[in-house]
Subunit: 208 residues, 2 copies
DNA sequence: ACCTGAACACCGTTCAAGT
DNA sequence: ACCTGAACACCGTTCAAGT
């Protein structure tokens, strides 16, 4: 099947291999795999290029530098977190009072089961000022929490007002438990409680 | 003044310069300065050696590798945090009910005003399993929080029981607010509340 | 005992040159 | 338009050799 125009179909990879195709996607895929395999520390641009089967210089046609590739990974992480949270919000429609708790448990569960992802998303190996796409993806995930809060407010289960006022403490708690769990800091200090149980208990207290 | 023995006084640097003296301390000092100057990312072992006026290989007589030097920095951070928290616990002896709040505000204030320090302490650029000294220093800082909780429990201001049960949620909250503030994540999502105010508000809710 | 010099393998990044 | 090869400056780490 010959194609009419001279445009090389940037969105539609016909060939199985990507050597001529979307190397960009291949690079982010390899980057993802590498992060999950070796952690954010062992992440190297040259190794990513190697896995994609291209030269060390090739990635620079698609990403300004190493930080931008890591930012792409972080963005994917936020997208995945968002999808997970959105799915959880749908599931628990029955018992509204448990929605925030379910959201919290889901958030922490995702974080602790994707520790390298999570560390890239919130680590300091790239400058968020230089990668607004990451911030946008992050806002989308945060929006799931806001939505849940608004829904509870409308049902009178939470006091009315700017949902951000509730979201600040809640997100901080979720992030703190996630990070301290991933770093084994809670265990190191003698706290062996399961993170999901800890979150549930904490949220109950926080929400009065 | 001649010294009698042949032992070169490892603890007692007589000379003003440390070129023959305790290079170890000089290295951690330079490391500290470098972290505060360039952040945890720009931290390089060779640059530390340069600032200490020694060759690139010299640090290896005192630290197994780069990670161990960063661990030393983290340890110093925990010591400083501990001192700050302990001082705060002394100051606020008058109003006992405010002690946990004061502790929380002090913790967050220290964290956000020493962001690079804090990121080294909780970042993933060294393996805590390989540096038990860091864990010990961390436990000491955590102990300040435990002490405050116990004091409040003895005054009937908090329910009795294992103080760790309270400390888990509280520490998670403090850590979450600190990290999200340092990373500008709260601001990026439209939350512009001052971190100390946010902590105070959150702790009040959490403590019933 | 502690430090230097030189070396090794590796990185991020750039750039002329190929197709 | 996209990729390669070779190069540059820099790293972490090792090791024989100096004092």
């Amino acid at each position: 099947m010959a194609r009419p125009g001279g445009i090389p179909e940037p969105e539609n990879p016909k060939r199985g291999t990507y050597h001529h195709g979307d190397l960009k996607r291949a690079l982010t895929a390899a980057a993802l795999q590498l992060v999950q395999e070796k952690g954010p520390k062992g992440f190297t641009l040259r190794e990513v290029a190697r896995r994609a089967g291209v030269s060390a210089a090739a990635p620079y046609r698609h990403f300004a530098d190493k930080a931008q590739l890591l930012a792409a990974v972080a963005t994917q992480g936020f997208v995945q977190l968002h999808e997970t949270l959105a799915a959880a919000a749908d599931t628990t429609m029955t018992d509204l009072s448990a929605q925030v708790l379910a959201m919290g448990r889901t958030y922490v569960r995702w974080a602790v089961s994707h520790p390298d992802y999570y560390q890239v998303m919130f680590g300091s190996e790239f400058d968020k000022t230089q990668s607004p796409e990451v911030v946008v993806a992050g806002e989308r995930a945060f929006g799931d929490l806001l939505d849940t809060i608004v829904r509870c407010q409308r049902s009178g289960l939470l006091p009315a007002g700017d949902p951000r006022e509730m979201a600040g403490p809640i997100w901080s708690l979720l992030h703190g438990v996630s990070m301290l769990t991933i770093g084994s800091d809670l265990v190191n200090v003698g706290i062996r409680e399961d993170p999901e149980a800890l979150i549930e208990r904490s949220l109950r207290n926080l929400l009065l």
